[in-house]
């Protein structure tokens, strides 16, 4: 019997496919998310838009919040650790969190190195904007990927850019001759073995969810059409006017992402979505997606 194998870690993410993972900050929100049909919740101290507003250093949440949320729901519970923060990650693992997001939403603890995720029993999800970043994270042991998007903005444009970019680069890679892969690895800054694996499979070896800016059911369905395996919704749900209704609508739109009549009816009378931010209005230091190396 073996725990923490690639199959077990990647398999856990496979079971989340076609589903929605929702950010929650307490047990009450976690229950609303589970009731709405979320496949998992991400337990946080603050949702990304509030992290943005609060400024300062954003760290792993108080373990009390994770404990409360784990006790409240039967679905998997994820939590965020700072990039490169070995001890935050080990704390979350020791607490029995089901998945760790090594996340650019928090202030990085290491500006050179990410966690060596292959050393942990708990699986990790990481953000990516292109194939080089995706392959580096897989090389370090990430068992799941997500677009970085631009968290806490309610603006889908960056998640679209990142999903299209990764998928276009995967398509290009799988048409390449084997002899060309090493140079591609050099150009992308990607591990050669991971690129060979992607070429052999004809796809990424782990699931890739959409994240960072999903604010409406239509946004979720858009990301699914662009090839996302599922959707993370951060600030979108509990910053909307009617979270329970909004959450249910996003779950349904993700399941039936090509059924436009259904999505039209789901989108009716939802109340206002979260207030969005135009990306060009963000100062360079406020761009979370540029964190990670």
């Amino acid at each position: 019997m073996k725990t923490g194998t690639d199959r077990v870690k990647r398999g856990m993410a496979e079971m989340q496919k076609g589903g929605v993972i929702m950010d929650v900050i307490n047990a009450e929100q976690a229950k609303i998310a589970e009731e709405a049909g979320a496949v998992a919740v991400m337990a946080l101290e603050r949702v990304p838009s509030d992290i943005r507003a609060a400024g300062g250093v954003a760290r792993m949440a108080d373990p009390t919040i994770m404990e409360e949320v784990m006790a409240a729901v039967s679905i998997p519970v994820m939590a965020k650790a700072r990039i490169g923060h070995i001890v935050e990650a080990r704390i979350l693992e020791a607490m029995g969190v089901d998945y760790i997001d090594e996340s650019e939403v928090l202030t990085p603890a290491d500006e050179e190195y990410h966690l060596l995720k292959s050393e942990y029993t708990v699986p990790f999800v990481c953000g990516c904007r292109d194939l080089g970043e995706a392959a580096r994270r897989i090389g370090e042991g990430a068992a799941m990927l997500r677009t970085k998007g631009e968290p806490g903005t309610g603006n889908i444009v960056e998640a679209v850019r990142h999903m299209r970019q990764v998928n276009a680069q995967v398509r290009k890679l799988i048409t390449m001759d084997d002899a060309e892969i090493m140079t591609e690895a050099k150009l992308l800054g990607a591990p050669f073995e991971v690129l060979m694996e992607i070429k052999r499979l004809g796809r990424l070896p782990v699931v890739n969810f959409a994240a960072g800016g999903v604010a409406t059911p239509a946004d979720a369905a858009l990301m699914m059409q662009l090839g996302a395996d599922g959707v993370f919704v951060g600030s979108g749900i509990f910053k909307s006017e009617n979270p329970a209704k909004f959450a249910r609508a996003i779950v349904e739109a993700t399941t039936h992402y090509q059924d436009y009549e259904l999505i039209a009816s789901l989108s009716k009378g939802l109340g206002s979505a979260m207030k969005g931010i135009e990306i060009s209005s963000l100062a360079p230091e406020a761009r979370m997606q540029d964190r990670g190396w």
Binding site: K2, M12, M15, G37, V39, G96, V122, T255
Partner: protein
């Protein structure tokens, strides 16, 4: 060729489709209840059972799923699918589809860090089956007509009751399709009997 539907509301749908096709049957992703009618057998995949149940209710799948079972057509539930099939779920007053005479406990091996791979001896299927358990349930109690197919550390992890096949683990996550082939054979035999 028999037609096997894979309930496509959430979870490891694509992997089951691949396994069914590799086992010599036609695979269909089932997203709406009326699509069930054409199927000879059904697989309920792994995923989150609470999410699948919400969507089953939302799209009024329940009467059609029960009808499918009443007609004697085979159903195979893996992990979350087993939970949906069971007549009793530990800690819950009501079952979901509630057709297979087993009592199951959710997440009974622990959280994700306790998820594991283990080799199983599956009676009549394989002696060396590499099985992947992810936040897996197990069968606490099996009814008298239930045939126990495999155990891990004394816990029942695969069983068959006539037309129903259930397992705690994820055969769709490996390249070993012997358990899916076993189910496809169940579907073919049932179809043959009903058309004669």
């Amino acid at each position: 060729m028999v037609k096997v539907g894979v309930l496509g509301l959430q979870g490891a749908v694509r992997e089951h489709v691949r396994a069914v096709e590799a086992s010599g049957a036609e695979a269909y992703v089932i997203k709406w209840p009326e699509e069930l009618k054409e199927m000879d057998g059904l697989i309920i995949p792994g995923g989150e059972s609470t999410t699948m149940r919400k969507l089953i209710d939302k799209y009024h799948f329940m009467p059609e799923l029960k009808q499918f079972a009443t007609e004697g057509k085979p159903i195979f539930g893996t992990c979350a699918g087993l939970i949906l099939l069971a007549k009793e779920v530990v800690g819950y007053e009501e079952p979901h589809i509630g057709v297979m005479d087993v009592r199951v406990e959710r997440n009974s091996f622990g959280r994700q860090r306790e998820s594991f791979e283990a080799d199983l001896d599956i009676n009549g299927v394989a002696e060396d089956f590499s099985a992947v358990f992810i936040r897996a349930p197990h069968i606490v109690e099996a009814g008298e007509n239930v045939e126990v197919l495999a155990k891990h550390n004394g816990r029942i992890v695969a069983a068959r009751e006539g037309q129903f096949l259930g397992c705690s683990f994820h055969p769709e996550l490996t390249e070993d399709h012997r358990l899916t082939q076993f189910f496809v054979k169940m579907v073919a035999e049932t179809k043959e009997k009903t058309t004669v």
